[in-house]
């Protein structure tokens, strides 16, 4: 009897998101066809990697029902401690892969601290991250007195010169950076954990109904630990990427990026209130933010107007989600 029950295919929210991305890309391309050049498209992907890794981390915590505003701060503190470690040990040449391991581990520790406060003390994640974010921003800087490192170790700076694919075009060499592999790994990891493991399903369950998740028998601290651990690790690796790409360390440069990651996750369809969001949707959100970050000047909008556009994206996405919610409530009345 249930064999008749078929999956109902609707133009789902993720479909709308993909559509919106291509419409925006189309508008950009109409104004300036260079947007569609291989050099530019590759540049968008390269530049989206950092924000992408960070957003994947943010997403998994948002599914549990907690917003975290300290990812950029975790990135800062992880990258800073990795750089200091390299300098202390005098590693100039090597360690492009190792830096991700160290920064990831440092970030995971920070993430777990946030998760501990959320689980053990029941403080909402947004509050924990506001408080801990300030600590991560400044603690190491206070301890060392360093806010600016003019030249990063050579091994780190190699990141944005290491390509996995290069194509010669009329406009120059188009290349895909090594960082794309890290981004791809982050997407794959979060997708696998969320969709293929029971812990991941538990993270969705936790976002759906915390009490019910406990009644079903989930190990709640394990769920928080996994979500926050992965968040911290990815934030740490993203921070490392950010500073390696900038080739120098200026402590607070990264902090503005928190807003971009939040916008990418929200446009990507993550709804904290009831544990909703798909990895596919978030990837589209990341690409959209990447497009806007890199190409506004190509269509004649000054790049400092970027924040207005990002703010607009956040509001529109939330408004659309609320509108859908209202429509569903209307139906059930």
């Amino acid at each position: 009897m249930n064999t008749q029950a078929k999956k109902t295919w609707r133009l789902g929210d993720d479909g709308v998101r993909v559509g919106a991305f291509f419409v925006i890309l189309g508008i950009f391309a109409l104004i300036n066809p260079t947007v569609l050049s291989l050099v530019n498209l590759f540049a968008i992907v390269n530049n989206a990697c950092f924000i992408g890794v960070m957003t994947m981390g943010l997403m998994i915590v948002m599914i549990t029902g907690n917003l975290d505003l300290s990812l950029a701060s975790i990135g800062l503190t992880s990258a800073f401690s990795t750089i200091m470690l390299y300098q202390a040990w005098g590693w100039e040449e090597g360690g492009m892969y190792l830096m991700f391991v160290i920064a990831g581990a440092a970030g995971a520790v920070c993430g777990l601290i946030n998760g501990f406060f959320v689980y053990k003390l029941g403080i909402p994640g947004i509050i924990v991250s506001l408080g801990m974010g300030q600590v991560y921003n400044t603690l190491l800087l206070i301890l060392t007195g360093v806010t600016y490192i003019p030249v990063l170790p050579e091994g780190m700076r190699r990141l944005n010169r290491t390509f996995i694919l290069q194509v010669e075009t009329a406009l120059g060499t188009a290349g895909i950076c090594f960082a794309v592999l890290i981004f791809a790994a982050a997407v794959l990891l979060v997708w696998f954990v969320l969709n293929k493991t029971m812990v991941g399903r538990g993270i969705y369950a936790l976002g759906g109904d915390k009490v019910a998740a406990a009644r079903v028998g989930f190990n709640i601290p394990l769920l928080y630990g996994t979500a926050y651990g992965i968040m911290g690790m990815l934030a740490g690796m993203a921070g490392m990427m950010f500073y390696a790409n900038n080739t120098l360390f200026q402590s607070d440069w990264i902090l503005v990026e928190q807003g971009n990651a939040t916008a990418a996750a929200i446009f990507g369809g993550v709804i904290m209130k009831n544990g909703k969001g798909t990895v596919g949707g978030v990837v589209v959100g990341i690409l959209l933010i990447g497009l806007i970050q890199n190409n506004l000047y190509l269509i004649g909008i000054p790049s400092y107007a970027q924040k207005v556009v990002v703010g607009f994206i956040i509001l529109t996405s939330v408004a659309m989600a609320s509108f859908n919610q209202l429509r569903e409530w209307g139906k059930s009345r």
Partner: protein, 505 residues
């Protein structure tokens, strides 16, 4: 399953609770309770709010450890159980909120608890689907396993919760107030599922205070009062009044509240009232001394009508007169100022500030009445008005400073009533006034509502509880797909007739 009556043999029962005692901070919740449930039997636990039913269930499901007594499951005695032990032995509780995940699909919700208790490390959508389909087929229910649980009806969610319990090899399914949120038709299909479970030798324990359902569904009744069993036996040995007597310890006549009605002065006159897509061309009068009932199925427009009368939503057409004066309500504040009170359907979320003291809840509507033109409040007058209402309605609370959430359901309802009465309204609108209230409190609330009408306040009761409509109201209007399709004197019709009018197309 036959009844041997004495129950001497041990193995006859799937679960036995013997001499359970439990106290919280010196207050005795369970004094001495025993319970015996046979496989394949529907056992009903009835009693008023606060009699200890919920505590007993929590002892059986392992949430609380009893202070004294034994729980015997399948012949194995336990001094106490942990929730996971209890589940492993086949005891499954279906909570009133169902404990489902609205963001996940039907199949995943059904399989989730089974997956966790089986210790699976990886999730598998195909396995979930097969499990869900298997169990849905077993109880013969059609439900799309791909739908998100947030998008299905309350009745369907309950089915999902039952399936989840069955998948975990349930031998006893405990259901807490299983029919509260269901329509009559949905209740019938739930009872069919329950019959199927009984045939599979699954025992059921219902906690309910809806007596009609107790008679319809159960073979055995266990009545609790003040933390102990007062009476038990096969359902066939009970009738309604006997059961109410044992539940409350006193005789409550379920009588109709007939009143003197003044047909000359309509308090409320509604002419051609419409709201786009919700209801149209609604006209009626409510007279002094009368309780006017409006009934209809969910979606008939009864709730939007109530909300329009109170100004929560705006009408799109039509006229409203209160004591002959035309009303143009823009919001609920206008309605309160005009002298209309509204006691909403879900008293917990709409009618009360749960975290705030009882005192402040009652005072909420009268602040402006006892304030001067500079908006300074006269605390003494407010205090006097609040205390008078609390006394008049016999609210049982340790202190008026206690939060409203500390009260039982019936007393919370009284606080909402007190709140509106303090404002001295001309018209009171009740939306399902006794949802989730036990028999004793229900008859008291009906008596209170009738006394409003006797005091000359116009009373409109909107409800889908047909016995309530028939015993409480003098005149009944039936709403069907947004229109008033019939008007009857309550004395002239019976429940079957009214039920027929509700579903007539």
């Amino acid at each position: 399953m036959g009844f041997t009556g004495d129950g001497e043999e041990l193995n006859e029962f799937y679960l036995e609770a013997r001499g359970i005692k439990k106290s919280f901070g010196g207050i005795l919740a369970l004094r001495e309770v025993s319970l015996r449930i046979r496989p394949g039997e529907a056992h009903c636990l009835v009693g008023e709010n606060g009699c200890g039913k919920s505590t007993l269930i929590k002892v059986i499901s392992g949430v609380y450890a009893p202070d004294e007594g034994r729980i015997v499951i399948d012949g194995n005695p336990f001094k106490k159980l942990s929730p996971s032990e209890s589940m492993a032995l086949g005891v499954q509780v279906i909570y009133q909120d169902f404990s489902l995940f609205g963001n996940l699909t039907v199949s995943e919700n059904i399989a989730m608890a089974y997956n966790v208790s089986s210790g699976f490390k990886f999730s598998n959508k195909k396995r979930d689907l097969e499990l869900a389909r298997g169990i849905l087929d077993e109880i013969n229910v059609q439900l799309n396993p791909f739908t998100e649980v947030a998008k299905i009806s309350v009745a369907q969610r309950q089915i999902v919760a039952i399936c989840r319990a069955l998948l975990q090899n349930a031998k006893l399914v405990i259901m807490d107030e299983p029919t509260t949120a269901l329509t009559t038709k949905e209740i019938d299909s739930l009872f069919r599922i329950i019959d199927g479970l009984k045939k599979k030798n699954v025992a059921l324990l219902f906690v309910s205070h809806k007596l009609d359902e107790v008679f319809e569904v159960s073979e055995y009744v266990n009545i609790m009062r003040n933390g102990t069993n007062v009476m038990e036996g096969p359902t066939s040995e009970f009738d309604r009044s006997k059961m109410i007597y044992h539940m409350t310890g006193r005789e409550i006549a379920e009588k109709s509240h007939a009143l003197e009605i003044d047909r000359n002065t309509p308090i409320l006159r509604v002419k051609g009232l419409s709201r786009k897509n919700e209801f149209k061309n609604v006209s009626f009068e409510a007279y002094r001394g009368e309780v006017l009932g409006i009934t209809g199925l969910l979606g008939s427009g009864r709730t939007p009508l109530a909300e329009t009368l109170f100004g929560i939503v705006r009408k799109t057409d039509g006229e409203m007169y209160l004591n002959g004066r035309r009303l143009e309500l823009r919001n609920a504040g206008d309605a309160v100022r005009a002298g209309i009170g509204y006691v909403p359907e879900d008293r917990l979320t709409q009618g009360l500030f749960l975290n705030v003291s009882i005192y402040r809840n009652i005072a909420a509507t009268i602040l402006s009445m006892y304030s001067n033109k500079f908006s300074f409040m006269n605390k003494r007058k407010i205090s006097a008005a609040v205390r008078q209402q609390a006394k008049g309605l016999a609210i049982k609370a340790a202190s008026l400073e206690a939060p409203a959430s500390s009260l039982s359901g019936g007393n919370q309802q009284r606080v909402v009533l007190a709140k509106w009465l303090a404002a001295q309204p001309k018209l009171l609108i009740f939306n399902c006034p006794t949802v989730g209230v036990d028999v004793g409190s229900k008859s008291e609330i009906h008596e209170i509502i009738a006394s409003f009408a006797r005091q000359g306040i116009g009373v409109v009761v909107i409800s889908d509880d047909l016995p309530e409509i028939l015993s409480l109201c003098n005149r009944v209007l039936v709403m069907n797909v947004g229109e008033i399709t019939g008007e009857y004197q309550a004395g002239d019709i019976d429940e079957t007739f009214l039920q027929g009018q509700l579903v007539k197309v």
